[in-house]
Subunit: 343 residues, 4 copies
């Protein structure tokens, strides 16, 4: 584009690598008056290289830089979440195979309904998580758009920025064409990401709720690994399932993060608004929350034991009422008559 | 499957068509003690045909029937929403073409930033809506699963239900295999749908906010069609943009619907819970809300006028400060020096 | 104020009573182009009385009329909710007296903790509801402010409206002085009301959850009245506690209503905004929801039976571990040593 | 109660003060396996004093200790918030006095409505904040209940704990009688607190939105103090009102905190649940957020300048249309005729 000479370019690349090294050693700091890393970097480069440093901000704004950095981060995190979900699916599949033959009462309304099995109970979660990946992939595709060159939301005048080129360099799937849309998608994309993570958390919430219920003395179908249980400070006998309660509650925290982002971006006009700065924290906390919950649930599932005796003892006759009615149907009795007879 | 004779099947089909006719005439009613249409239909068929009516509930539960009906409804509504979004995109594109040459100040932080145009402003919304379709399509794919044969969540004993067959008959893309997952996806799928509709509502919210701001006397860039303005009961001079305020506020209502569904399904164990009955209302209201808002916004855009004079008058010199700075850069001045000079 | 003659006043009062009669008979209708009842009433009066009708809107706006009507409605509904909450407290107290001697295991983390009783379990809810009344009373006091005379938010020029007088006439506790604040409190007051109702719904949610758990076969401490149970269409043996599941889920619906109102009013500037029209529906639905849930819970509690045998059988030794430890403490053993010994 | 000798008591008080000193110097640490400060303190005391340390946990649970500590913290924070709100009211009153004579157009629907003034605009916020104090006081009264002696939710057996005594010692207004209610109020009380803080944040949100709008070049009625403005990295001319945008957005963050707590506590049965651990973070973040926003808004108001020229110039004729109509009414013209004439 004619902004930097090739010497300046080499100098800048070298100095940027220096910054990375300094940062790795915790020696690169951002002064309050610099506001953010972008100004700090420019100042460092200018201090070291003079004019070459002063040139780096030609044709770009902190706005499109921040969004580009955020998208690269989001893409990487979504990949990581996908990997962790697949690990959890594997752990569930292993658990299911280990215990596939064991019967389990199926419940509706928390009342015994019909016979089921430990294996199929577990598989209900792996199939659900598999579908979550569909949504994670969609949102990955949605956000995989190059914002660079949109500058403050209205593009770059005078110079012609090759946005396809920077897209290829940064491995973005496509260019986000309308430069104002780049700004208007702030918060909106972050919300779409958390909506997808939330679907994973809903599975974890339900699995944790089942574990909480099924590990109780009254149900007793499964047992948590000992290392995941906690005691009480006053009651000597207690073995508490805090880990699954915390996993359960984290779905509420994720919901709060979505709420924050969605609330902040309502009723704001087009273009960058300072409010967008605050969408980052719930996004990042949402990723951290999802990753840790998926990982911990994978460990819990890995150590989960089934109490086969309790499961078998729970297979009481009322669970087979529908089966009995359908046996009559097989013999020609209309279903509703068979149903009444069994009732 | 050997439940119905071919005579019974013919009789049932005929009687079901009778029910449809009665219902169309508003003459098919559901008694309170019948709880829902499923029992009412069975009772009608039994009253008319005797044993054939009593047989229809073999191998199925209201649970999987309700979900199947709901999914068919959801698929149709999502198609309809997609169509309406495409109409809105067309209306925006037409508006953009009609007014493409007119300049518009670009704002960040509600402060003049850089030059933009009416055309590109409008296109920021059409590109965003285009991306919403990606999410609508994903969720359509997600829910396009046949729940029939899952019965109350634990499948059908004794008889072998061909779930691939019913999937083909009802045009479901695939079978939702795990029968417990069918129940566990209740609320979760509905939330995924509203999450996608919410993305559309966020665009409408921002477009409405822009319209509210830009039609004010202080900005004055655009004018709402007269038939969308309302007066005041006390102030003779007022012309109020209620329509865009209501469109804006509806995004908050949609948010409330999502909140309802998400809140209801938290901390519930596997299997059908009576709570799920209440997820239907926010879903249906969410669809109705989205469809009417998209349609009304399409009408508003269709009648929107641009005040070219005000737009041109607003293109004040500060908007060109960045351009001026970059002209200096073109001549070799380092960007930060050019920036300071222009500042 | 010199706007109406005493003859006109009498004519207007007479005609307004006519409107009330017509409305009671369902014969007073509002045409679409009249927008709301205020214009319809003025038109009716003008049609009948001529100039006297045209005079009624002097010194007032639909804005302050709507808010005044809304506040009177809110005050009445809050009184009604308070009455219903007191009824529920009575029903709980009666239930508690009837069953006070029956033991109940106390649970933490859904694990048996220490001995408790049916009576004290029930009283935990009546004490909580009693505290809810404190919040209901506070919000009643908050909103008990006369908005009349604020007109469109900027008061009435030329004429001097005696706002203290209309406050006394309409039995408002005080005048909401700043006229702009009258508008700015829209949505905000409605949210404060729903926040208070929500606290009641949280109690109902927890009581319903306990009922759902304790009526299960695995716990079996209590039994729902038969008339509140529902069957299954496929499973002959089922007796489902839909009523408590629906009561439980309604807390999620209330949460959604609060979310709607709060979301709508964010990021809006001072003064009336058309968005406020949409805060009425969630408010009214919130009142209806709260009233019906409190009433139904009162009926459920009234018919609730305790299964004394199951309660007594559940008082297993581990519940007394803390008691045993404290007996040792009584004898001088340091608590932590006694705890370890019992563990 | 006969648990500690007076020597042991003196030793414990001395050692506890030691812990406070250590903690102030950052030298008191909690090991992971100790879970929390309660166990760490007991261990420290036991290490130092032997049996006296082992005795301190007689008749109490971490549960009621945690709640007692939390309530003391909440009471103090609520007092602090009340103080800061009063400071903000003072700042607004000062600003209002300084600028009381300056006219300001009153807006509805963001359209000029009727004349108002800078002073009365500002007072709309001080009156609203005054009402918020009513809600803050109510919630302070609600939570001012002594939980000590409730232990794990089911009281203390064997020993008789004098709960009125500890209430007086810790300056709690009353005893929370039902011990299970102590646990059941967890999350519920925290939500009531955030609901009250949220009302303050709604005022700050609206005031910030007004500032954002009124400091724009298009309105121009007020000017932010220079030290609260930020620049742009690419646009030399920009002076951005980030501070009010961040204040505005924080209301969305507060909303998210409320959502987290409310979501977490839904559908949980009576008694302590591990989920409650996660209600602390949104509570504490909610207090920090409210305190900092109120303080910063107080600073902003303190430095806010009014552009009297712009205000006066904006008092255009249409603002006086209602006044003119009412002048005709004064002369006997029926209002609706006067309204039509002015229109």
């Amino acid at each position: 584009m004619g902004v930097l000479s090739s010497t300046e370019l080499r100098q800048l690349i070298f100095a940027l690598e220096e910054i990375i090294s300094l940062d790795n050693e915790g020696k690169f700091s951002i002064a309050i008056e610099q506001e953010d890393c972008h100004t700090a970097i420019e100042n460092y480069l200018t201090g070291k290289l003079g004019d070459a440093g002063k040139k780096i901000h030609a044709c770009r704004s902190r706005n499109d830089q921040v969004i580009a950095a955020l998208r690269l981060y989001e893409k990487e995190e979504l990949r990581e979440v996908g990997k962790l979900v697949r690990n959890l699916i594997s752990a569930i599949t292993n658990f299911s195979s280990r215990n596939s033959g064991i019967p389990l009462p199926g419940y509706t309304h928390l009342r015994k309904a019909m016979p089921y099995s430990i294996g199929r109970w577990a598989e209900s979660f792996s199939e659900s998580l598999q579908d979550d990946i569909l949504l994670l992939d969609s949102v990955s595709m949605l956000i995989d758009q190059n914002p660079l060159g949109s500058a403050a939301g209205f593009g770059v005048p005078i110079f012609k920025v090759d946005r396809e080129f920077t897209a290829r360099q940064l491995k973005f799937g496509r260019v986000q064409k309308n430069t104002l849309y780049v700004q208007n998608s702030r918060g909106k994309f972050e919300l779409a990401i958390l909506d997808a993570l939330n679907q994973v958390m809903l599975d974890i919430n339900k699995l944790a709720t089942d574990m909480w219920l099924f590990t109780s003395a009254e149900f007793g179908f499964i047992e948590l690994p000992k290392e995941f249980s906690m005691g009480s400070s006053i009651m000597p006998q207690k073995v508490n399932p805090d880990v699954v309660e915390l996993l359960r509650a984290k779905a509420g925290v994720m919901k709060g993060h979505r709420d924050s982002i969605n609330s902040m971006i309502l009723n704001l006009p087009s273009g960058y608004n300072g409010d967008f700065k605050l969408t980052k924290q719930p996004l990042i906390e949402g990723f951290e929350l999802a990753k840790s919950c998926i990982s911990i649930m994978t460990l819990v599932i890995g150590g989960l034991k089934v109490n086969e005796g309790r499961c078998k003892a729970a297979m009481t006759p009322e669970l087979f009422a529908t089966e009995k009615a359908l046996e009559l149907v097989k013999k020609g009795v209309p279903f509703r008559d068979a149903y009444r007879k069994m009732g």
